[in-house]
Amino acid sequence: MEFLSSALTKTVLNAFGQTLYMVFWSALFSVILGFIPAVILTLTAPDGLKPQKVVYEVLSFIVNVFRSFPFIILLVIIIPFTRALVGKAIGTTASIVPLTVSAIPFIARVFESALRETNKGVVEAARSFGASDLQILLRVYVKESIPRMLNGVVLLIISLVGYSAMAGTVGGGGIGDIAIRYGYQQYRTDYLIICSVILIIFVQVIQMIGNKMYKKLS
C-alpha cells in the first residue's frame, strides 16, 4: 500500500495513463483514416479491381513522403496544423495529432499489404458468381484480410507506444517523458527501470491479445 501511494508510483501510473490516452486515440484515428488510402491503393494497384496507374503512383508517393519524415521532425513541422486543430501545440491531447499523422501512412501501407494478400483466385471466384466490385471489396478483400489487418493494428499500437515517448519529450507527458525527465536527467534509475518494465509488460500484453484474436478470427 505504501508502495502504491509513493510519489514514484503515482507519477508513473499517471504517466502510463497519459501514454494509453495518446496511443488509444491516435491508433483509433489512424486506423480509420489509414483504411481509406489503403482501400484506394488496393483497388487501383496493377493487380486490383480497378487498376489506375496514375492514382496508385501518386497516392503511393504521398504515403512514402509522409513515411520518410522522422517522427520528431514531423512533430515540429505540423505544429501550425496541430494548433489549428486542437488550439495548442503542446500537451497530451495535442500530441495525438502528430502521432495520428505519422501513423496514417504506416497503417495505410500495412492495410494495403494485408488486403493485397487476398487470394486472387477467390476474387475471381466471387466475380464468376456475379459479385459487384463493391461486394468483392467488402465480402472478399476486407473480410478475408481482417486477421492480417488486426496483426497490423498490433504492430501500429506497439510502434505508437515508442512514438508517444518521443512526443512526451515535447510536452506530451506519458511514460517516455517520465523516463527522460526523472530517470535520465535526475539520475533516478528506479524511475527508468519501472518505466521500462511497464512498457515491456504493456507490449507483451498487446501482442498476446493480438495473437489470441488472430487465431480466433482466422
Binding site: 487470394n119 483466385g121 477467390v122 475471381e124 471466384a125 466471387a126 466475380r127 464468376s128 458468381f129 456475379g130 459479385a131 459487384s132 461486394q135 465480402r139 472478399v140 473480410k143 478475408e144 481482417i146 486477421p147 478470427l217 482466422s218
Partner: protein, 323 residues
C-alpha cells in the same frame, strides 16, 4: 447451347486464342483438352466474361456475351457456376457460409427456411453433411472441391465451368470428384465444360472434346475417336505413349478396337484363320465412360503384311502399320 465462333484473344503481344470455334450442346460434358499454355483456361473464361476477347463471338443460347454490358454479364454469370484448380474458398467462412456466399451476392436472404434447405441439400449432394461448419483449412483437397462444387450450384446454374478442377488432386480423389460431376450432369441436367490436361478426366466423363494446341482447335469430336487412334502429331505428343520399343525386324501393325469390336477375340481368330505366328508387342485397354476401347501392336513377318491387313479390313478392325 454455347457457340464460340472464330474467337481471338491476345495478352499484350502474345496471341493466346487464334480463331477458336466450338459448339457445346446442352447436357453435354464437354472437354477442352490440351497441354499447358494451349489457351484452354482463357477460352473457358471467355465464356463467362472473366476474360474479354478481340474478335469473334461467344453465344449462349443465341445471346452474344458482351463484357461491356455489366448487367447482362452479371445475369449470365448467374447461369454459370464455376470451379477452379485451387478451389478458391474463403478461408474465414465455414462450409455453409462459403456455399451461401453467391446467394448474398444476389441479395437473396440466407437465413430463410428455403435458403437453409437448399444449402443443406447441396451439402448432402456433395457428401459433406458431417462438415457443415468446418473451415476450409480443416478439409482435404477433395472435400474443398466438393464445397466449391456445392457453391457453384447454389444459384441453380445451367452450366458448370470447371477449370482444371481435379489437377491438384490425387487419382483416387479425382475419380470421386468426376463421379460427382457426372451425377450432377445426369441428375440436374447441367451442361458441364471441363478444361483439363488429364486424360483420366476425358476418359471418365467427357462426351465430346476439343483438342486445343497453340490457341487453335486441332480436333473436335468424341474422345474415343480422337485418342484411341490419334492421327495428329500434337495429340500423339499429348498422349506420349508412343515411346514403347518395337522390334526393328518384320512389320509392326497396330490394331484399334473401339466400341463393340473390342470384345471380339480378333487376335486368336486371326492366328487360326491365317495359320500364322506373330508376337504381341504391347496392348492396352482404356475405359472411356465405362466403355472399353483398346489398341494392340503385333509384329509379323513382312511377307504376311498384306494378308493380315486384308483380314483386319474384313473384320472391320482399324489398323495402322507403324514405321
Amino acid at each position: 447451347m454455347i457457340k464460340i465462333h472464330e474467337l481471338e484473344k491476345s495478352f499484350k503481344d502474345v496471341s493466346v486464342l487464334k480463331g477458336v470455334s466450338i459448339t457445346i450442346k446442352d447436357s453435354e460434358i464437354y472437354g477442352i483438352v490440351g497441354q499447358s499454355g494451349a489457351g484452354k483456361s482463357t477460352l473457358l473464361r471467355c465464356i463467362n466474361g472473366l476474360e474479354s476477347f478481340e474478335s469473334g463471338y461467344v453465344e449462349v443460347d443465341g445471346t452474344k456475351v458482351d463484357v461491356k454490358d455489366k448487367v447482362a454479364l452479371k445475369n449470365l454469370r448467374r447461369r454459370m457456376g464455376m470451379i477452379f484448380q485451387g478451389f478458391n474458398l474463403l478461408e474465414r467462412l465455414d462450409v455453409y457460409d462459403n456455399i451461401a456466399l453467391p446467394l448474398k451476392f444476389w441479395g437473396i436472404k440466407t437465413n430463410t427456411e428455403e435458403s437453409r434447405k437448399k444449402i443443406l441439400d447441396l451439402i448432402e449432394l456433395v457428401g459433406l453433411s458431417e462438415k457443415v461448419h468446418a473451415k476450409p483449412r480443416e478439409l482435404s483437397g477433395g472435400q474443398k472441391q466438393r464445397v466449391a462444387i456445392a457453391r457453384a450450384l447454389v444459384l441453380d446454374p445451367e452450366f458448370l465451368l470447371c477449370d482444371e478442377a481435379t489437377s491438384a488432386l490425387d487419382p483416387e480423389i479425382t475419380k470421386g470428384i468426376l463421379a460427382l460431376l457426372q451425377k450432377i450432369n445426369k441428375e440436374l441436367g447441367i451442361t458441364i465444360i471441363v478444361v483439363t490436361h488429364q486424360m483420366e478426366v476425358v476418359k471418365q466423363i467427357c462426351n465430346k472434346v476439343a483438342f486445343l494446341s497453340g490457341g487453335k482447335v486441332l480436333a473436335e469430336g468424341k474422345p474415343e475417336e480422337m485418342f484411341i487412334q490419334p492421327r495428329i502429331p500434337e495429340i500423339k505428343a499429348f498422349l506420349h505413349d508412343r515411346s514403347e520399343i518395337l522390334p526393328d525386324y518384320g512389320v509392326n501393325i497396330q490394331l484399334f478396337f473401339t466400341g463393340e469390336g473390342s470384345m471380339e477375340p480378333i487376335v486368336t481368330m486371326m492366328a487360326r484363320e491365317l495359320d500364322e505366328d506373330f508376337s504381341i508387342c504391347w496392348a492396352k485397354i482404356e475405359d472411356f465412360r465405362d466403355e472399353l476401347h483398346g489398341s494392340l501392336v503385333i509384329n509379323a513377318k513382312e511377307e504376311d503384311e498384306e494378308r493380315i491387313c486384308s483380314f483386319l479390313d474384313k473384320k472391320n478392325v482399324s489398323w495402322e502399320v507403324l514405321k
